[in-house]
Amino acid sequence: MPFIPHTEDDTKEMLKAIGAPDLDALFDEIPADLIIDSLDGVPDALSEMEITRLMRGRAAQDGAPLCFIGAGAYEHHIPQAVWDIATRGEYYSAYTPYQAEASQGTLQTIYEYQTMITELTGLDVSNASLYDGASALAEAALMAVRGNRNNKSGRILLAPGVNPTYEKVALAIAGSQGLSFDRMPMDAVTGNAVTPVNDSEAPVAVVIQQPSFYGTLEDADRLTNWAHEQGARVIAVVNPTSLALLKAPGHWGDEGADIAIGEGQPLGVPLSSGGPYFGFMTCKQKQVRQMPGRIVGRTTDLNGEPGFTLTLQAREQHIRRSKATSNICTNQGLMVTAATIYMALLGFEGLRQVAIRSHQMTQRLLAGLTAIDGVDRLFDGPYFHEVAVRLDRPVAAVLDALAAQNILGGYDLSEASPELGNALLVCATETKTDADIDAYVDALKSVLTK
């Protein structure tokens, strides 16, 4: 289906009116050497029939394996009602509508979402969401730089447990805007960040991921206070499910984290081979003018009735152009709708039960795995629903052997973090039963005794 409504005659008439010979002439001001005909790895367009066949084939590969992979995206039970409601006609649009105030229901949903996310993170303000957790880190870093003008270094210091993919994405987005990303050293025993860092230059912001990418729990209070002593802003990267049990970033240390971001997928969004997901972002009130994206506020109309409105728009790109707080300020409306329904259905107590159950199943998984010869725990200390183990041989072949038995056995850390050796990251959520864990442990045992 074509998305351009003009007929060929319309186009010709318009070109004639402005005196342009053809459509390409409209792009003449772009230097020729910047124009590319095709992108490596991006195939030519397919017809609807061809793409349907391709996607059906891909979908058929998925099957229903037993999944123990986390590493940033987590399988949780999604109550049937979530997507039943989210896909109603009134909600089923991925976009904040133009003339937003005409869609009061959509704005109210976003407002409720913002309220829930600020409660989870313990901070003052939330935006209407961003693309995903990784791009949210880039935005948070840029925001910290804008808000901390005493420090011109553009240097962002990452705890060792920040998701390596997030760092890559943040560098891709913010690296060209003068930001650099460095890692703090890692304590080999606990996997956590080591301070003080011997630096000639104080960082503009310190990023603390909790739980860390390796599943461990940082001493967030101490790190937050340390970062603030350096004059740095604190960016928290948090898992929303974990916040039902762990201290909210707004209460870390003496002053709390300044900005909290994370991947919203665990809140009612299916794994779907990697997306679409959504990123959440909250901050302290005093940072709100540096926050990118849309923010819905509650107000009263001319008749004194409550109503919802987009607020703080003066720094968005349609007004501020190249000086906007961000030029990626769309939100993930549909994913946020699902997350809002998920959180409303579960309530805080329901989310707490999900978190507790996930932690318990991970405890059982870890006990089962480390009882096998050739499997050891990688780091000491507390964890949430994910934990790293070390195998006595390369991980990739072991995972392949498990996959042949329809078990996704975890995330191979040896590619992103080769210094950790044959390291495997495993996760169990509330979706796993004791029988599932026994099945995994038995399968791994048989693979490792071969």
Partner: protein, 131 residues
Amino acid sequence: MSELPGDLLYTSEHEWLRREEDGSVTIGVTDHAQAALGDLVYVELPEVGQDVDSGGDMAVVESVKAASDVYAPIDGTVVAVNEELADDPEKINADPYGDGWIVRLQPNGDIDESALMTPDDYQSLLDEEES
């Protein structure tokens, strides 16, 4: 017709400068600028002690419909900012040349007045923009 005091210098960015007796320079936005922006809701101020370069941005004035940079008209160091604007940005709307001042700079060396506008020059600019 916007107000245009005769004892000030102006810039094409719709800012004004007043040379103080102690050698510092007070800077704000003109009556024309505040009227064009509309009711201001927020002013982002620089830090005292910060060095600014002529042409670089040093503050942001934000109304409900726009956020605009305030540029440094000269090289210098920020010696004072109008803290009252934090709670009451509308002072700029009410009194742009008085209580609505934004930043005071200590210039680096002599001020090149030829790079700035006299009240007459600025009036011509406004006339041009209106025509």
